[in-house]
Symmetry: C2
Subunit: 227 residues, 2 copies
């Protein structure tokens, strides 16, 4: 199909598709001449995925590029492939503030790009859980940052408070992995993993919110509020 049909079938303007092609969010079509290219169903699927990541999940274009990029680097077996997918962190490299307050003692540490053992708390948490993760996972830094942020707000919070959450995350992850058991093809598995990992996130947070509301009703609702 040509670009106009791709546009019609996806609901995305051609100008935007061209933009995504330029940005590398989609592979170029098969060129049939200097000013003509042919697209197929895989382009349509990719386009819909990109739109879902950017629109529904709210990722930035560059984050979406990283994610779909991991899908294109497929070479190894299922484990490597999933490692690639799960290792992508949307906003990696964007540490905003560490909670700078009154104690302005900036220690100039040896800022290596890989984790060199700072994140000590996360290391302890992971060790306690017995998890098997690489030291390069960007998600480590996210946990560290959250802990620092909470403490910057004056809350006494250490990794132990996250332990029960982590146990539930473990079971959530098991559910996720169950759902990619279906396809045999590693590539399909990876695509399914991307969809479930990223697109389910808003729903999981929404479910937490609804559950909080329900739990608050159970704990704090006075008799006068009952219907």
């Amino acid at each position: 199909m040509r670009i106009s049909e791709l546009s019609r079938r996806s609901g995305v303007p051609t100008a935007t598709i061209k933009f995504y092609l330029r940005e590398g969010l989609m592979p170029p079509g098969r060129a049939t001449s200097a000013t003509q290219a042919e697209y197929d169903e895989s382009h349509l699927r990719r386009l819909r995925l990109v739109r879902a990541l950017i629109g529904a999940r709210g990722l930035s274009v560059s984050a979406a590029k990283e994610i779909v990029g991991s899908l294109s680097e497929v070479e190894g077996d299922t484990y490597e492939l999933l490692g690639l997918v799960f290792g992508v962190w949307p906003g990696a490299g964007g540490g905003t503030d560490t909670g700078a307050g009154q104690g302005a003692k900036a220690d100039g540490d040896a800022d290596s790009s890989a984790n060199a053992g700072q994140d000590a708390e996360v290391d302890a948490l992971i060790a306690e859980l017995g998890w098997d993760v690489t030291e390069f996972s960007p998600a480590r830094k996210t946990v560290t940052r959250t802990l620092n942020t909470l403490r910057g707000l004056g809350i006494a919070y250490d990794w132990r408070a996250l332990l029960p959450y982590a146990r539930l995350a473990e079971r959530t992850a098991a559910l996720d992995l169950d759902q990619i058991e279906g396809p045999e093809d590693p590539l399909e598995k990876a695509e399914r993993a991307v969809q479930l990992t990223f697109l389910l996130e808003p729903a999981l947070l929404a479910l937490r919110r609804l559950a909080q509301e329900s739990e608050a009703a159970a704990r704090y609702r006075g008799p006068s509020d009952r219907p």
Copy 2:
């Protein structure tokens, strides 16, 4: 204290503090004259909270405003207060795409601002769980939208697939509520609820990612990959 000290103690430029004041993210200081105002510790705490919501959590200024606004509307008891906090949804009103594809049958429904019974799937889910939530919770629409997005990608997905996730969300929410048991004052409870609800979100997603990685290693790692 005056604005410069507020700036020094928080690390936020005065221009930005003025901007937040203009946008209503912080209450104005107590004016001592036409060009002078006095701020106190509560302003500092609010400022740090706003920064954490915008910086660490990545919320927009208007979303942050809604959230801290819920803290200011405090009048009722703990239940009402928590209902206010848990009822806020960061990006409410921003439904991006519903997964428009080939089947372009736009039914012009009576778009009422409150939920008028569409979200049937979420209703079923909530009923099955026995949750006690109002029909106005914006989180409902988020779940509906996620379901639609996944189906728009060609995945067969209905509310039943979310059931086990919801059960885990229930337990996560119980952990959240446990942690706001501390303070007696409803206002402090509410502030703690905001902190835990919103600032923990990135960490919870990061823990899921780490757990996925670990679970994938357990399930798919071949013998050759072992250290």
